[in-house]
Symmetry: C2
């Protein structure tokens, strides 16, 4: 079991996870009752059959982010000292940070775009020349080997980066950012190293000809940029610029990360509004108008930066027509208008997309389980990635080779690498426009090439092969996105639908242009796979540059979601579930009203006294079996064994800082000159608080006392024991809490509710189900 | 003073407000301390100079909506009885309701559009014929009288409807809906009568030629439709369809109202995404993904319905190119592209828009103060409206008459009513295209007429006159919106800027088309007046049908907001402030950390016992001096005079229902067969609970006891006394609370925080200011 579950981690290295947790200062929260529950489950599990995968588990590895300000005395003093002017300065610096985030994200997108375009261009040129040569002389197998070998080599590079250096940079990063915005701390997800691996990884994947896109990773990149810039320092590079110190806490950081994610979407698709909606859809538990506006600003700057630098690069300075990495090209409404009686057709296509998307997800789910079990060593992962690269090249080559779809080389044709192969002179191979190209270009060709550019067989075969290739590719240890492959698959079968419709009813002029069906198909397929709704509609509309298609795209996405959800969840949700992340959905399960805080909470809780012995604190923190992160502070009634009355809440991270600075009552008395601990000391330690093991406390010091009054949060949110689960959930989710204290009617602590206690319950096929907690 | 403040009410009838409050069952919440504070303020106020307006007051007239579910035993029992299937049915019926809301809102928009177009068409035809006649024969003053008289008559009709029948239907309704979404109950705002007056009122205003638009009122109309449909009954018509009974509470109703508002925006501007964002911007305290999705659905259906029926009406069935009431016409990006060095120009225009908007708001503010003081009798209001109508016609006529801007009647020219007047044959008067038209058409002409259609003087004069006309018009007792006039003013000066630019630099081809400057000017002016941001950008982008302009529009709106906010608030906010509505902003004032719940709360609080004497309850409810709405339920320690321990919270409305059904302990014992009170009884009484005066309780019954255990909310949210104001604010706002109980560390009730206690504090010019509470 351990062998299975440990490999599920996004970091993919089991031995790392403990070290990482220690390094991050994010030990596992595990209260007494959970511990018991866990052992009970261990027991019951070993009695039943071996569980083939662990989506029914909830990992204790992931910590929650603390979206609730710790309003202790230090904080309040600082806030009260600040003048209206300094609040205004703070607000301005927030805007500056957002502008910087947008600018840097746009630059990164620009860098990726230029490098990919150039390298891919070079590659296709060389191979085209080679193919053209060998087509005449025979011996095309050499071309195949060249193509496959080149792809495998490049992908190997990218895969080594990911598998050996930073596994968290694998994939599109969207599930990870979803989790982060949801309030889960994913180790190493917003580090500089991750960004570097991500950027170079995605270049390798795309140049290596995998069935991937470079768009998804932009969202992750934007988030990393945001987390870096907003802190005014780099922990990895050990540089502190002494700016933006106020923002060094989870509350502020998460706001900037959501701006970064939005800027990423914006740069990827040229969709600033879509970006804002994406961040909103994923993390609206913290949301206010000013924040929305700042996020919008970041998105805007991001797409503008990309657009501007690309226009300079393309020597058309100032021509702002490339707002995103992918550009669907304009759909002019005169040429491709739709009529309301086409809407049922679109809905049917949405249903097909939903079904195909669910199939994709189901296959990828099985594949992921297989990978978790058998392909967990980095070198195996690299080899798999190389294999996929070689197979992709081979399949593409074979398809192009055996395709008979020769199209005339029209003068207005804008194919960059028309492959003649066995076509007559003045003709080119249509299959090659789909396979022998970066996926972005292929999508554009499918949308905009004039009717008759592809024959149905080509499209059918392409859909079939690309579907399986893309499905196999997603989840490899490479940095790459699934957006573009999904769009490509959908565009192919969508165009096919259009062609078939036109051939069945040749007199209806509306069916003349299969391009709009390609668009609808693309939306349907993408919606069927990722199941995003509002944001995806807006992204599609912004990327096509035409609002007229907003309505059909919405309908299609809705249908795809409804049909798809009937079979299996969205791709990102599947992967989040397989990581056993304690992800909180928008609402508590509908049928959970019979559960109350009493049943849900962890209990008994380790409480600390307001004036506590250092030894007790060190022991509590060192206790690896009950790795708490938050401790209610209580006032014990004298000569009474009852639980104490709640008077505050203190976090592990705060205690660590206190211990490190030896803030003991006795020392304060003896050394009057000692500097008073300030908020700055906590901020300097954020976010990588040292583990308790690294702090030396002498035997004498263990006997000292620590006064927590000044540092604890004196007004933690509380609920009575009888509060129903939906009510607890609502409070927890709306305020982005990490710990919620459960008290009795005398205000005595009786339990603690954390993220895992809430994420455990979910609606299954047979009503409410409870996930098991596991120390993975 | 009373004379001034009482007239500020949106209902504009002082004698009404008490009756309305009683009728609505929404008496004033006023706790002891507030009462004291109030009297103190009364005192201090009378000592200072007379306050010319009451924006520094906070009305106690407005109740909060209850966005927090009352999770009492009845509710929990019902929820626990429900199967997963019934939750699914509930979810489906939510979708059905949203679909209906969208459909009906679209139909209403369609109705308004068709009626206005026909009536306005008829009017302009008659007057044109008349003018054409009299131009030849002389005696144009007769035309003027005809025009002015007709306008005044039609406006009188609309104004009488509003002033005498339903004052709340006046204006655009957007401030009212903003307040509703914010969580304030505005009396009569979502009634059927309001809807009818609104619809016919807006038709009269537009046909009457006022400087108004028909778009703003759609948002209000959508909200009323939503509030009606979702309740499955009409209280006004006394029809109960016995459906959707589950939705008969504030929590559900507000969700539907936000969908209705979004559907209204969507129908008005053909902007479904903009609609969703509008609802989000105004009411995001309650927000989750499924709700967003449903709101989106309603928006989509709404624009689609409008589009479809208009296409049928225009005999082009299925041509879906009229998604909204206003249609800016397509901006084709080839013809009107922009370059990045135009961006500074746009920003300057944004600043101008911000400044002009602030000027508009300042003037309108003074005007509103004047109206509050002197024009508060309905007949005066009607007369003012008629005067404005006549003046508008006269000014228009004069401008057209004295304008020398004759343009050739080109064959591609699509003016519907080209006025020749004193122009030569084959020419028409350009001033008339702006004045002699519905404002929607004028906006479109300014955007799209080819360069040279207007001369600069015409545009300058038009801007000047229309600016003052629009400013005078907003706030009249007619139902009308300010969106289109703002756009029109902006488009006029924007086009003027474009023409000037082109004349200064005749060689730059980019400046050739003034249409894009008209668009930018329109955005700037509208942004400067209403100060909406995200949603307005999206609305503009969706209405122009071109995403390319997203970026400049955003920048322009931002600039306009920054510049405008420096001078005065947005128009809607001004009017909300003048109504003294306890509106909660997104965050507590930045410098309010030194305030704690202790200072903010109302205290002492009237508490009830779990088992309370009926007489006490009746007396508490009847006490008009302390018109509480929520009562903490406490358990009193025996033989102890201390405050009791909190064990629940019960609302006035619940107590009223209990008293009405005589749920007394003694009666339950004697009459065993008596039906148990169910949730249905509370739902049937919602939302117009009878006043306490209408319930007869005999002297015997006064001695009975009432057991509140089953009906009270056993787990109200609480905060300790030391909680800082921002923290209280966050909890209150995030959960949409109405009452927040403040407890000491023994869980004893010490105070109650309500909306007014929080809305009282705001950032003024000199730091934190406290508004006064007034019984207006």
């Amino acid at each position: 079991m351990a062998n299975i579950t440990k490999k599920v981690s996004w970091s993919s290295r089991a031995d790392d996870s403990a070290a990482a947790a220690a390094e991050e200062g994010t030990p596992l929260l595990l209260n007494g009752s959970e511990q018991r529950r866990f052992s009970r489950q261990e027991l019951s599990r070993s009695q039943t059959r071996e569980i083939p995968h662990n989506e029914k588990l909830l990992s204790l590895k992931y910590e929650g982010l603390d979206y609730d300000n710790i309003e202790n005395q230090l904080f309040l003093e600082e806030e009260r000292r600040m003048s209206p002017m300094s609040f205004r300065c703070l607000e301005i610096s927030r805007w500056v940070v957002c502008g910087l985030i947008g600018f840097l994200t746009g630059l990164i997108a620009c860098f990726i775009d230029i490098v990919v375009e150039n390298l891919a261009g070079l590659k296709y040129q060389v191979i085209k020349k080679n193919i053209d040569n060998f087509t005449e002389t025979g011996g095309l197998s050499i071309s195949l080997i060249l193509w496959g070998g080149f792809n495998a080599a490049v992908v190997m590079l990218g895969s080594i980066l990911v598998a050996f250096f930073e596994p968290i940079a694998g994939g599109s990063g969207i599930p990870q950012i979803k989790c982060y915005l949801n309030g889960v701390k994913i180790p190493r997800v917003v580090r500089l190293k991750t960004l570097l691996v991500k950027v170079f990884g995605v270049i390798c994947s795309v140049v290596g000809g995998l069935a991937v896109g470079k768009e998804g990773p932009m969202i992750h990149s934007g988030a990393v940029v945001a987390a870096g810039v907003s802190q005014g320092r780099s922990t990895s590079l050990k540089r502190d610029f002494k700016i933006f110190e106020y923002f060094r806490r989870d509350t502020e950081k998460r706001d900037f990360v959501s701006a970064g994610a939005a800027a990423g979407v914006s740069a990827a698709f040229g969709a600033p509004v879509g970006g804002v909606l994406f961040s909103l859809e994923e993390g609206a538990s913290f949301w206010n108008q000013m924040l929305t506006w700042r996020i919008f600003f970041a998105s805007m700057i991001s797409t503008f930066t990309l657009n501007f630098f690309l226009s300079v690069y393309n020597k058309k300075t100032g021509d702002l027509s490339n707002p995103g990495l992918i550009n669907f090209g304009r759909f002019e409404s005169e040429s491709v208008e739709y009529n309301f009686y086409e809407i049922p057709l679109f809905i049917v296509m949405g249903a097909i997309g939903g079904f195909l998307g669910a199939l994709f997800n189901r296959l990828n789910y099985w594949l992921t389980i297989f990978r978790i079990r058998y392909i967990h060593r980095p070198c195996l992962q690299v080899m798999e990635a190389m294999l996929v690269a070689a197979v992709t090249a081979t399949v593409s080559f074979t398809m192009i080779y055996f395709s008979n779809d020769c199209q005339p080389l029209a003068p207005e044709n804008n194919e960059e690498y028309p492959l003649q192969l066995f076509c007559s002179d003045g003709e080119y191979n249509a299959m090659a426009t789909a396979f022998f190209n970066t996926p972005e270009r292929s999508v554009r060709s499918l949308f905009h090439n004039q009717p008759g550019s592809y024959n149905p067989l080509t499209l059918g075969l392409f859909t079939l092969t690309y579907f399986f290739l893309a499905c196999w590719t997603y989840g490899l240890a490479v940095s790459a996105g699934v957006f573009i492959p999904s769009l490509l698959i959908g565009a192919a079968w969508g165009r096919l639908c259009g062609i078939l419709l036109a051939s069945f009813s040749p007199n209806v002029s509306l069916f003349a242009d299969p391009g709009k069906y390609a668009l609808i198909g693309a939306a349907a397929q993408l919606g069927g796979i990722v199941r995003m709704t509002l944001s995806l509609t807006v992204i599609m509309v912004e990327a096509t540059g035409n609002v007229t298609y907003g309505l059909p795209i919405m309908l299609v996405l809705m249908t795809a979601k409804i049909v798809g959800d009937y079979v299996i969840e969205g791709l990102y949700d599947i992967h989040i579930k397989l990581q056993s992340v304690p992800f909180l959905h928008w609402e508590a399960p509908a049928t959970s009203h019979w559960l109350t805080a009493r049943e849900v909470m962890s209990s008994p809780v380790t409480c600390l006294n307001r004036l506590e012995k250092v030894g007790t604190i060190v022991d509590t923190l060192s206790n690896t079996s009950t790795n708490h992160n938050g401790f209610p502070v209580v006032v014990q009634a004298l000569g009474n064994d009852e639980p104490g009355k709640l008077c505050g809440l203190i976090l592990r991270s705060q205690l660590i800082v206190l211990l490190k600075h030896k803030v003991f009552v006795e020392l304060a008395r003896s050394r009057l000159t000692q500097r008073k601990l300030q908020l700055k000391d906590f901020r300097d330690a954020y976010p990588r608080f040292p583990p308790i093991q690294s702090i030396h406390v002498s035997q004498d010091e263990r006997e000292c006392m620590m006064d927590l009054t000044e540092f604890m949060n004196p007004t933690p949110y509380t609920v009575p024991q009888d509060t129903s689960l939906p009510r607890v959930f609502k409070l927890f989710r709306a305020l982005g809490l990490r710990h919620l204290v459960v008290v009795d009617d005398e205000n005595r602590v009786v339990g603690l509710v954390t993220r895992k206690d809430l994420a455990r319950y979910h609606m299954g096929k047979h009503g409410l189900e409870e996930l098991q907690l596991a120390q993975t």
